[in-house]
Each structure stands twice: as C-alpha cells, then as structure tokens.
Amino acid sequence: MSDLTQLTISQARTKLRGKEITATEITEAYLAAIDRANPVLNAYVAVTGERARDMAKTSDAKLAKGEGGALEGIPLGIKDLFGTEGVHTQACSHVLDGFKPRYESTVTTNLWADGAVMLGKLNMDEFAMGSSNETSYYGPVINPWRRSRLDTVVMPTTHQGDGGFVSAGGTRTARSLDNAQLVPGGSSGGSATAVSAFLCAGATATDTGGSIRQPAAFTGTVGIKPTYGRCSRWGIVAFASSLDQAGPIARDVRDAAILLKSMASVDPKDTTSVDRPVPDYEAAIGKPIKGMKVGIPKEYRVDGMPEEIEGLWQKGIAWLKDAGAEIVDISLPHTKYALPAYYIVAPAEASSNLARYDGVRYGLRVPGKDIVDMYEKTRAAGFGREVKRRIMIGTYVLSAGYYDAYYLQAQKVRNLIKRDFENVFAAGVDVILTPATPSAAFGIADEDMAADPVKMYLNDIFTVTVNMAGLPGIAVPAGLDAKGLPLGLQLIGRPFDEETLFQTAAVIEQAAGTFQPEKWW
C-alpha cells in the first residue's frame, strides 16, 4: 500500500499494531494530503500539524512497547463544534472569533485517551445550522464528488499508444466529470468531505436534524447519529440541547463502529448522558440478520421524490430480504409534522443557547454607545443570516402570548412522533429502513434554496424524525445515481440499539459495496 491515506481505520489499526507502519508515517501522509487538497475543498478551518506530530510520536512510543488504545495512532478530523483545549473552536461563526477554550470536550477527551491523533478542526455550517455547509463563516466546503456523464467513445482501430498498445477499435463508454461544484451537505460538511476525500481516517460530527446522516449520504460515507444521551454533549457548542448528538462519519460501517465505541461514554458532566455501559459495536458486524423484522414506513414515500431514490429503497429492501430479514409495511402517521415541529423546537432552543454570545465573555465585540447597543451590534456583525433567522424564529415563538400556540404545540406533536415509533417497535419491528435524503448532492449556491429557506430545510425530511424521537439512525451508502453521485439509505433503531444498526448496515454495505470519488482535486 503506497498511499497510507487509503487505509480504513481497521486496516490501519492492524498495520500499526503489527509495526508495518508508524503513526508518524500515516499522520504525515494525511497532513500532506490536507496541504494539497484543502485550498480546493476547504474541509479544514484549522490544521494542527504540530500537535498531530506530537500525538503521533507519543502513539509510536506506545505502539513500540506493544501498548496503546483502541485508536492508537489513528489520525482524525474534529468538527469545529467540539471544544478542543487551546485550539480554534468557533462553530465556524464570526461571533466566536479567536476563541480557544481552556477545556476539552468529553467526546474528544475520550478519543485522545484511546490514542487518536488530531489533524485539525473541520468546517461546518455556522453553529451547525444548515444542510449544505454554505453558512460557514469560513466559506463553503466542496464535495469531492462531481456529476459525470457517460459518453460513447469511438476507439480508432490499430491506434498506436505510448506503450506500443494496439487498440482493437469499436466503441466503449467513458465517464467524464462535470465541473460544477456540489455541496457536501451539512452541517457536518467538512467532516463528510474530509473522510470522503481521504483527508482524515475518520471524523467527529454532530447531528441535530440530520447533520451527520445527510452529509454522509451526499459523500458516500457512513454516518451514525446515536441515541440521544449516548455521547456526552459536554464541551460541544450547544445548538438545540434536546436534539444535539455527537457521532462519527467514517469510510465504512466497521470504522463507524470503532469510532462510536470510543466517542460514547457515561459522563457525570452531562446530566442527559445515559448510565449504560458502551457495548462493543464492532462485534455486531457480520452477525446474520435472518428473521429480523424490517419496517418500511409508507409515509417516507413523499411527493416529488426522484425515482432513483425509490429504486434505491427497493434495492435495499431486496438486499435485506435476501439476507433473510422479514419485510413488513408500517405506518408512522405523524412523519410529515416532524419537520415543522423541528423548526419550532430547534430555533427556540437555539435562541436561548445563543444568548450567551454578547461580546462580553468571549469572541467578537463591536463597540456601541451603551451596553445594549454593544450587544446588538456585536450580534448583528457576529451571526450570519441563517443563524439570525433561527434566533429570530426562536425568540418569536417563545415570546409572550405565542408560547402555547407554537412551542407547547410542537412539543406535544413531538410526543406523538415518538409514540409512532414506540408503537412500531412494540409490534416487533427491529429496525426501520428509509432513504437517507430526498435527493443527491446539489450545486453550490443553488438558487431555489437560496430564495426559500424552507426548500433547504426539506433536505432533512427523512432524518429529522429520528432526532425528534431521540432514536439512533445510520446513513449507509447504497449506490450511485445516473449522474454518478452517491445515494444513501437510513436505518432507524430502538433506543440504545446501535448494534442492530451496525449489524444491518453491514449487510447493505456488503451488497452495495463502498464508494470513492474520482480524484480531480
């Protein structure tokens, strides 16, 4: 293997432990790849080369002694939402200018304790608000995938090639890449691009309405949002506290399982962290799914859904059936209300969480004629358009006289959404299969979406229900569309049953294969 960045985490782990490669070598390979690719893809907002080299050196010393943790020497990228001590942590917002926390988030603490190496901080939508990574203060992330078209090329006969090769002639088809730049999805767009373009072995991400699963689906990577309470939220910049969960984006199902095992923990510093031991997720991979009951919710067949998505879904059903699963039609009647309820609950919680950015304790300060003027100018300059829009919605729905009509109603509907899932699981369904997104990746600066915020919000239509109910969900690549772009399927499980998700996702991966973008950057 000449290029160490091509190794999956599980492959690199074996080679590191077997002393075939060193942590320093693999870290240098990633730093060199980032150096070349980042000016084009914009996945990293801060590269921590020196720290990465130091951490790799420490890992090598441990590995030489036959010691080392579960991720010893594995280079990772960290979403800018995670507090990293002494290192750029700005949630990709201008309002947190220059913020370097004096603490380390629990999730990253867990990763470093297991020996992982930090390559840097990854780009994201500002405060994780967005589905295209275009709201970042640091500019959009570019998807390493591009559309392509199949051309029929006529081969001249007896063509004398450079190596003396003689063509037999005839025609063949060739894919040619389109130059249009596509979004990687969001909000964890930097994480998804970095993993897909081999700029880290795996990445941390967070998911409030689909921010792990949608970018994973747009980039042909695997992303899991665990059950609410599985990963500690301590030290992660808060967006919507009752919905936010951390999880990994990885190149395959096994790598996602390895990363989640290290990220998850029981944390006394987060009162919503659940007191349950973290299982060995990797052990679930390869277990047969014979007899498993897979639910297919009819409400996920939405109007205007491209045929290719429906086709992909049917393929997924066939694969699971072939593996011995029992397919059952189910109904989740409140599905269509999840997104509107989300756009009350999430902005309400955000408006309250983001009240702390006032120009006093950290980040940007714009002077004003008095303290209120200073607050208002700081927040006007520091927050981007989408963040302001959500703070405004949240402030409005929580304001006097509107609380019952909006927030209370949304929280009641949320209970109904949760109940839908509980009923289905009580009826014996083990896992639910849906498409991950209603489309493949779209273009940067898509005019329709820029003109209508609700159009952008519809990207999360299949993922947001899972956050509302607090359930675990995984996006796994399942194929390419006619233009050669990756599409993903989503599996939804019972609370804290991530193992079934890994087990089932592995079956889909086995049937569909894994996907890599053609390198153009």
């Binding site: 220059g98 370097k100 004096r102 609410y228 309470g229 009752s242 006394p268 009162t271 962290s273 659940v274 007191d275 409140h334 209300y337 997104l339 509107p340 309820a341 756009y343 009350i344 009240a355 006032d358 120009g359 006093v360 304790r361 950290y362 980040g363 940007l364 002077p367 008095d370 303290i371 209120v372 003027d373 208002e376 100018k377 927040r379 006007a380 927050f383 302001k388 829009r389 703070i391 405004m392 919605i393 402030t395 409005y396 304001s399 909006y406 209370l408 109603q409 949304a410 929280q411 009641k412 509907v413 949320r414 209970n415 109904l416 949760k418 209508d452 915020p453 609700v454 109910a469 607090g470």
Partner: protein, 95 residues
Amino acid sequence: MSVDVKTVKRVARLARIAVSEEDAERMTGELNAILGFVEQLNEVDVSGVEPMTSVTPMDMKKRQDVVTDGNKAADIVANAPATEENFFLVPKVVE
C-alpha cells in the same frame, strides 16, 4: 399567523440583534415563509397529549453537593475581549 415589519423589529430587539430597515423587510418575508410552513401543526389533534420533556425516560442525575471545580478565574476571562484583574469589562451601565 404572520408577522409585519414592526413585529420583526420588536423581536430583533428582544433577541438583541441590530437590524437595518432593509434587514427587517427581508426578514419579514423569510420569517413568514417559515411560520407559514409550521402552521400545519395546528391540524394535529393533541388533546390529552403531554408535551415532551425528555427523549429518554430517566431521572435527572444528581451529584454530590461538593466543590469539584474552581480557582480558575484566569481561565474564565482568558477569552474575553476586555478584562481587568480577572473582571470582565463592559461599557458603563449606571451613571
């Protein structure tokens, strides 16, 4: 329900975000698009349904009432735009 420019300005004031006349006009349209979208929640029958308060049924964890942290004044002010002797500095609030 829909909002007018006056309401948008009032909400911006509550949220402590300075908005220009132009911002307020634009936001009025955007906010109404979103409020129009969430309107459909009203068609759901929620009679007898409790609002959701927790995603997983669990008791709030309690910790021992002991001091576990502190003496970090320098860390706490380290990222502030203006400080003096471990105090945050703000514009004068009382005359």
